[in-house]
Amino acid sequence: MNHSRFRLLKDRLSGNLFLTLSLFSILTVVLIAAGLYWKSIPILKTTPITHLLFSKEWKPFKQQFGFLTYIAGSLIVTVLAILIALPLSLMCAIYISEFAPVRLKKILLPFIDLLSGIPPIIYGVWGVLMIVPFIQEKLAPHFVEFASGYSALAGGIVLAVMIFPLLISILMEVFNTIPAELKEASLSLGANEWETVKSVVLRKSLPGILAATILAISRALGETIAVLMVCGNIAAIPHSVFDSVYPLPALIANNYGDMLSIPMYDAALMLAAFILFVIIFLFNAVSRLVLYRLEKRNYS
């Protein structure tokens, strides 16, 4: 009797302990958001939020802080990265999980893992050494008169390579959850492997592909150092992908700690971080809603 009461107590205790710990980790997110907001209150009090979000004027000495160019910079680089990475990693993941011989699979997988283990700074250096000159000398002259190579496109390409392994590994997980019997059902009707992938595997994987894309976008939005090295960091709305951009994380990383003697600069940078946070949060929330809808449509 005593023993079983002790076990019951342990069960309750461990349950509560885990609850506390998980609450703690959720609380960190809330605390970060609250902290950022609190620190950016000074600038929010002096400048209307619409002005902060939609003005292109960034003149710290005149107390003008418009984030539009930075927000645009972040979004453009991220969209480019996804446009490049998603089709490629879809094809790659499909090939590895559906077509590749076992031996090739065993060689390819460690490389993809390795790709995700490379520190961002190395991607940055690689971007500066290879991608930027390539864009400047080979690619851009076909389209624009002058380009430094440090551009939204360079950022997009470097970011694409960085989110490649994440996308591939999640997509492969997604494809692995498709039951073999479902593929066999399609094959037994005389469909070939490609028709089966196209009409059955991809369609059934749609929610998963979306989820993978969301994760990749969140990662891309927040990536700092590699992007900062290749984007050129000029705060202007770009006219083409060959123009420089200045993404939000680069703004924070470049200036935090240096320029804090300027009044309000501190609050402005905190607001930049808060905006980044809100963009990623909203993005996740909306896509979760879409995901939920998709799953409901697919499975009910």
Partner: protein, 254 residues
């Protein structure tokens, strides 16, 4: 046993999966038309045998297959065999229904579309014909464009049967096709099989002896990867020649 040329002829078939022997030296002539059932305890290789018949098994690279499977006299493991064309000859019903992730209409139209039927009128006719053939038409005609996942399990299995019939196969393979279904749905599927057996060759895997008795014309009993006995259903079930078959039929081994 039915006379005439066999529809499917298996010759000296050995299957190894991951180096383990699963089927040993199987030779069996499955007659044209009628229902042939594979029975035997779990793990005896009956599903494996079924899946070698339309080459779904060798998609898995760890599988080694020796021997011949002749369908209409052609070795489907021979060189230069067009696998998709061969598979089209055979409908497949799996243990649980797996409707394709699309609408009821598209589930049926999927196969015909692949094989080149494009006209909406022809597709409409095909869809209706096979939904009627499986007695689904009245149940789903008002929601052809809604997801097939919304149907009951029993309806889904009939949809899968209709989907298979829509590519006009000669053979229907069933891997315990009623094992996930309730008794009423099971009965419907069995009735359909009995109607189809005049036009198609049906090969079913079942571990339900009573079902084998109810619907089979011929029964093959497999045990530990070997074909123990094959013959007309009544003979195998009521007067088995082999001791192992006797034990299984009487319920001593299962």
């Amino acid at each position: 046993m039915t006379t005439g040329t066999p529809h499917i002829s298996v010759r000296g078939l050995n299957v190894h999966i991951n180096g383990h022997p699963i089927l040993r030296n199987i030779s069996i002539d499955i007659p044209d038309k009628g229902i042939t059932s594979f029975i035997g305890p779990s793990g005896c290789g009956k599903t494996t045998l079924l899946k070698t018949l339309n080459r779904l098994l060798d998609r898995n690279k760890k599988v080694k297959i020796d021997g011949q499977v002749l369908v209409d006299g052609e070795d489907i493991y021979g060189k230069g065999v067009e696998v998709t064309g061969m598979r089209k000859k055979m409908g497949l019903l799996s243990q649980r229904p797996f409707p394709l992730p699309m609408s009821i209409y598209d589930n049926i139209a999927y196969g015909p579309r692949i094989h080149g039927i494009r006209k909406k009128k022809d597709l409409d006719a095909t869809v209706e014909h096979y939904l009627r053939a499986t007695y689904l038409w009245d149940e789903v005609k008002d929601r052809l464009n809604s997801s097939a996942g919304g149907l009951s399990i029993g309806q889904q299995q009939r949809l899968c049967l209709a989907r298979g019939l829509a590519v006009e196969p000669e053979i229907i393979l069933g891997d315990e096709p009623t094992s996930a279904l309730d008794p009423v749905s099971t009965q419907k599927i069995e009735e359909l099989f009995l109607q189809l057996k005049d036009k198609y060759t049906l090969v079913l895997v079942t571990h339900i002896l009573r079902q084998a008795r109810r619907i089979s014309d011929n029964i093959a009993f497999l045990y530990m990867g070997e074909l123990i006995e094959f013959g007309p259903a009544e003979e195998v079930l009521l007067h088995p020649k082999e001791k192992l078959t006797q034990d299984y039929v009487k319920g001593y081994i299962s």
